[in-house]
Symmetry: C2
Subunit: 365 residues, 2 copies
C-alpha cells in the first residue's frame, strides 16, 4: 500500500492527500457552480494551503474565503488577492494588521454588528477607501447574525458608515449536517437562500441595494442548481470531504481525498486494536452516529475512542490485523485534522508527488 | 486585565500561562512525591515545552515522560536526558530514529507486546546495549496492556529477549476521571497499584524481578501517599490543570495555570455571545457535565458550542458583556489545547515575563 522508499522517508501517523481525488472534487464543484451561474469562493479553512487555494482559483473559483485574519495573511503572502475574511475583526491589533493587509490584497470582511463595523470604517476612513462587507444573517445555525428580519435594521445602520460598502449577505448552513435526509438537507439549502432574499428585498425597498447572496457549506453545495437567489457559494470541505460530508450525502468514500495512515501498535485482546493516531491526529469532533473515523476496507472495525495519541478500535467478529499493519482512516471532520498537521503527503497513482505544507495551520488570530 | 502594551503586542485568542500558579503546582506535586517516597516522572505531553520540563526537573522530578518519539527528540534537543517514551515504537523508521536518539539520551520505552519488544531488542543488539522497558498493564482503562494476570506470561516472554530489561510495570488511571466521587477516585488509585503489584509478585515467584511500579494520572495523584507499592508517579496535567482535573477534585479554579483569552466578537441576541475562540483553540474534547470551558468570573455564562473559530456562549439571565470585551476561560482538557498553540504567554504578577514556545506541538510520530 505504501511504497518501500516512502516508508523510509516518514512514518505514521500522517495525512495522505490523493491529488487526483482532490482535483476531481475541485473540478466537479467548479463545474457545478458554473452550471448554476454562481460564483465559487471556496472556504480554504479546510486545507489552509496556498498550493490548493491556487488550484481552486485555476479551476474557476472567483476568490477565496478564510476563517481568520491570520489565514488571510498567509494566503496574501502567497499571492492570493481576492479574499473574504468571514470573521468579525475586533481589537486594535487586528485592525492594524487588517490595514497592513489591505496594502497587498483585495479584502472583504464578514460581520454582524455596528460595533465591529465602526472599527472597519475607521480603517477605511484613514485609507480613504471603502471596505466591502458581507453581513452575516442567521438563517438557522444560530451562530453569527440576527434573524432575517432583525438583520434589516442592523444592516441599514451599518450601511450609514461612509467607508463601508455592504457588498453581500452571507450565511452558513452548518445546521444542515444535523438533518437526517437528503430532502431535509435540500430544504435547509433552499430556505437559507429564501430567508436571505427576504432580507435583501426589504433592504432594497428601503433604498439599500445589496448585490451578493453568498451561501455556505459542503453539505448543501450539491443543490446549488436548485437554490434560488444565490450569487455565490462558499463550500470548504468538498475539496477533501470526510465522514461528516459522507453522512450528509455530499460525498462517498471514493471522494474523500485525505486519509490518516495509522499503524497498529498493540493488540491487547482479540476485540481491541490500538493504533498510533488519536485526537492529536484526528481531532476530537464528535459524530452523530458515533465513532471517530471510517476505517477503509474494514467494515467490522469501529474507531471507538481516541486518547491524544492512541486510537482504540473495536473489532466486531474477528480480525487478523497484527502489530505493524497500516490502516487508512477517514476522519469525522477533516478541517480540524488538517489544522493538526504540518504537512500533507500528496500522492498521485500511489506515488508521492509533493508535500503540501499546511501554512495556515494554527492561525486562529 | 491585559496591560495596554501587551494588547499591542498580540491579540486574541491566545493562551496565558500564570507562571506563579504553575510553579506552585510543580512544587506541590514534587513535595507530595517526596513525602510519599516515590519518584516523580511528569508526563510532559501536557506542556510539550523543554522550558517547563526543566523546571520540573529543577523542582525534584527524576526524569520525564513523553507521549511520542518526536516529543522525546525535542526534549533531548534541549538537553533533557532521562526520558520515558510511554508509547510502543513500531516500524523501521521509528526504530532508526530511536537508535539515533539513544546516542544522546537515556531512554526507557513502554510497550505491551512481544512483537514490539522484538524491534526494540534488535536495536539493543546492534548497539550491544540493554534497553530499559516499562510493560503496560491494563488496570481498568482498557487501552494498552493485558489484564494483570495475562500480563504475567506476556512479560515473561518479553523478558527472554536478551537486549531488553523489564525495568517496570506501568499503568494509566485515566478511567478515574469518569468516577463521580473522591472516594471512588481514591479506590481506582489504590486498586490500580494493587493490581500491578499482583503482576509483580507473580513475576517475582517466576524468577523475574521488576523494580518499578509506575502509576499515572493527575486525577489520582493527590492520593499518592495512600497508594501502596508505587515507586514512581507520572502525572501530567497537574502542571496546568483544567476543567477535567477540577471535576475530578484534583484542582480548583485558582490552580489552573493556563487560560484562554478570547474576545467577544458578536452579540446577536441577549442570550448569545460569540467569542473568537473555538475548537481550534480549546480542542473539542467533550466534558461529562457538558460545555467546553469554564468562563472565569461569569457563573451565568456557559460555553455551549464550539465551531472551529467561534465559541457560542449561552447567557443565563442577562449579561452586559459587549463586543470587544475579553474573557478568560479554562479549557475542558488542557493538553490538546496546548497542542494547538505555538506558544504560551507567561505572566508573573500580571506582567508578561516570557513567551514559552510549545516546541513539542504536533509531534505525533
Amino acid at each position: 500500500m505504501i511504497k518501500d522508499d516512502f516508508e523510509l522517508l516518514t512514518d505514521t501517523p500522517f495525512l495522505a492527500l490523493d491529488l487526483e481525488v482532490m482535483e476531481r472534487n475541485l473540478r466537479t464543484m467548479a463545474a457545478l457552480a458554473k452550471q448554476a451561474g454562481v460564483k465559487l469562493r471556496p472556504h480554504t479553512k479546510t486545507h489552509k494551503s496556498p498550493y490548493i487555494a491556487r488550484k481552486q482559483l485555476e479551476y474557476g473559483a472567483s476568490g477565496i474565503t478564510v476563517a481568520k485574519l491570520g489565514e488571510a495573511e498567509v494566503m496574501a503572502d502567497h499571492g492570493i488577492d481576492d479574499i473574504l475574511i468571514a470573521f468579525p475583526l475586533v481589537g486594535r491589533n487586528k485592525l492594524k494588521r487588517f490595514d497592513a493587509l489591505l496594502d497587498r490584497a483585495r479584502l472583504t470582511v464578514g460581520l454582524d454588528d455596528i460595533a465591529v463595523a465602526r472599527g472597519i470604517n475607521e480603517v477605511g476612513e484613514a485609507r480613504k477607501q471603502r471596505i466591502p462587507v458581507y453581513a452575516d444573517v442567521d438563517t438557522g445555525l444560530h451562530r453569527m447574525g440576527r434573524d432575517p428580519l432583525a438583520s434589516v435594521q442592523s444592516i441599514l445602520d451599518i450601511a450609514k458608515l461612509p467607508y463601508l460598502e455592504i457588498r453581500g449577505l452571507m450565511s452558513h448552513t452548518g445546521h444542515a449536517y444535523a438533518r437526517p435526509t437528503e430532502e431535509e438537507i435540500r430544504a435547509v439549502a433552499i430556505e437559507d437562500a429564501e430567508l436571505m432574499n427576504e432580507t435583501r428585498l426589504q433592504l432594497d425597498r428601503l433604498g439599500l441595494h445589496v448585490p451578493e447572496i453568498s451561501v455556505g457549506a459542503s453539505a448543501t453545495a450539491r443543490f446549488i442548481g436548485e437554490i434560488p437567489h444565490a450569487t455565490e457559494m462558499r463550500p470548504g470541505m468538498y475539496a477533501f470531504n470526510d465522514r461528516f460530508v459522507m453522512a450528509a450525502g455530499g460525498a462517498e468514500e471514493r471522494d474523500c481525498a485525505v486519509t490518516v495512515y495509522a499503524t497498529v501498535v498493540a493488540r491487547p485482546t482479540p476485540e481491541r486494536i490500538i493504533i498510533d493516531a488519536g485526537s492529536k491526529t484526528f481531532a476530537a469532533d464528535a459524530f452523530k452516529h458515533g465513532g471517530h473515523g471510517h476505517v477503509i476496507g474494514h467494515p467490522n472495525l469501529t474507531l471507538k475512542a481516541l486518547s491524544e495519541e492512541h486510537g482504540t478500535i473495536e473489532v466486531a467478529g474477528s480480525s487478523d490485523l497484527q502489530i505493524g499493519d497500516v490502516l487508512r482512516i477517514i476522519p469525522n471532520h477533516i478541517c480540524p485534522a488538517i489544522n493538526l498537521a504540518d504537512e500533507l503527503y500528496g500522492f498521485r497513482n500511489g506515488e508521492l508527488e509533493t508535500i503540501v505544507p499546511v501554512l495556515g495551520r494554527g492561525k486562529n488570530r
